[in-house]
Amino acid sequence: MFFKDSYDVVVVGGGPSGSTAARYAARNGANVLLVEKRQEIGSPVRCGEGVSMEIFKHVDIRPDPSWFVNQVTGARIFGPSGKFILIDAKNAGDEVGAVIERDAFDKYLATEAARDGAEIATKTSVVSLLKDGGEISGVRVRRMGEESDISARLVIGADGFESQVARWAGFNTNLKTRDTTSNLQYRMTNLDLDPRFTDFYIGSAAPGGYVWIFPKSGEVANVGIGLLLSRIKGASEAKDYLDAFIEKDERFRDASIMETVSGGVSVSAPLDKVIADRIMLVGDAARMIDPLTGGGISNGVIAGKVCGEVAAGAVKEGDCSEEYLQRYEKGWRELLEEKLYRDYMAKEKLVTLDDEALDKLIEVMSEVPLENLSTKEILTAIRTKYPELVKEFEDLI
């Protein structure tokens, strides 16, 4: 027996959002199944593995040496000319974070979920939603070639960027090309880097996106690229741009690639609605990724906790209606929505800037005292020097 035929809550997707939702639903008394289609939780990795320290404030997660491998002290953002600004952890606080091992991190979160009572089924694909008189009543799964039905009072879609649950349930998750990115990353070794910093390169080296270097140590780092789909004309551009970046940078001359990782990342505003009767969406599936950085772990975990708690409450009350689930909708938006929209607007502006404008931006930002490094202060400083760069953003200042 790998799973029973009935649960209070079925969570689809064993990433950080799904595991956290399953954990908090189980911890608060619900009978929970976490379904993961892959044969191993956390593997293969599809992530840049940078995470903000925000999660430790909101969710009961303790840094474990198995996955918390490098806490950085700052982020350096390089303009096209090579000039950079340093965003220091002392000033920017939890925005600057750590580099983790996602495979171990995902297993850690799944273990926490299991400890709190959730059951986990791996190598089990959800192939459709069950409906009873138009109402969602569970999921149909396939495991080792056999299909079976699992009834659930509540289904949580945590199935990521390519969420099927969301689409099956009728949510419009279609992304505009300017809200979608194509990403490729190499885990490189035999490097000699300063492990104290995560590095970001903006401009024409990565149209509409950026190149990142996230060090796990001085020797090993994730070196990756994200390109905005609306800027991509043909096939294989993420790979071509990343290879070109690595080719012309001396630091990579003696490096080797240990792993290649790819994937899609949304850089959109969040969905207007992530709940309906008997269903909730969380994490990348709900488009909770930060549209400026492309980071999804923190937001997914923070929302996952709220999602799990509300799921348990709904089950306890015997009310899994959309009306009851508004508690989740309201709860996660209170924590995340303002920043998501602000960062979405910042991204929308940034992608319009050419190399010359980006260099001006870096130049001005390098002159703003670090302790004042808020969006408002930055925009004000830019307005003083290059008013044409922030014309459309007057209302934010």
Partner: protein
């Protein structure tokens, strides 16, 4: 129609999430295309490694299957 180069595919799902018709399903290492594909070619651009290509079939007659 979309042609997949298995040698290049990373099974990452970038094409799945980018598809406006939900015509692609990724099951671990198997990429399935269904009949909803409109040949828009977005997946070809979204694929980070160039594993997909759009084969023009317009004007070509596909012979009916015979028993």
């Amino acid at each position: 129609m979309i042609e997949l180069n298995d040698d290049k595919c990373m099974h990452c799902g970038a094409c799945v999430g980018a598809c406006p018709a939900n015509a692609i399903y990724l099951n671990e290492v198997i990429l399935d295309f269904n009949d909803d594909c409109t040949d828009c070619g977005l997946c070809v651009r979204a694929c980070p490694v160039g594993a997909l290509s759009l084969i023009r079939t317009r004007g070509l007659k596909v012979p009916a299957a015979t028993a």
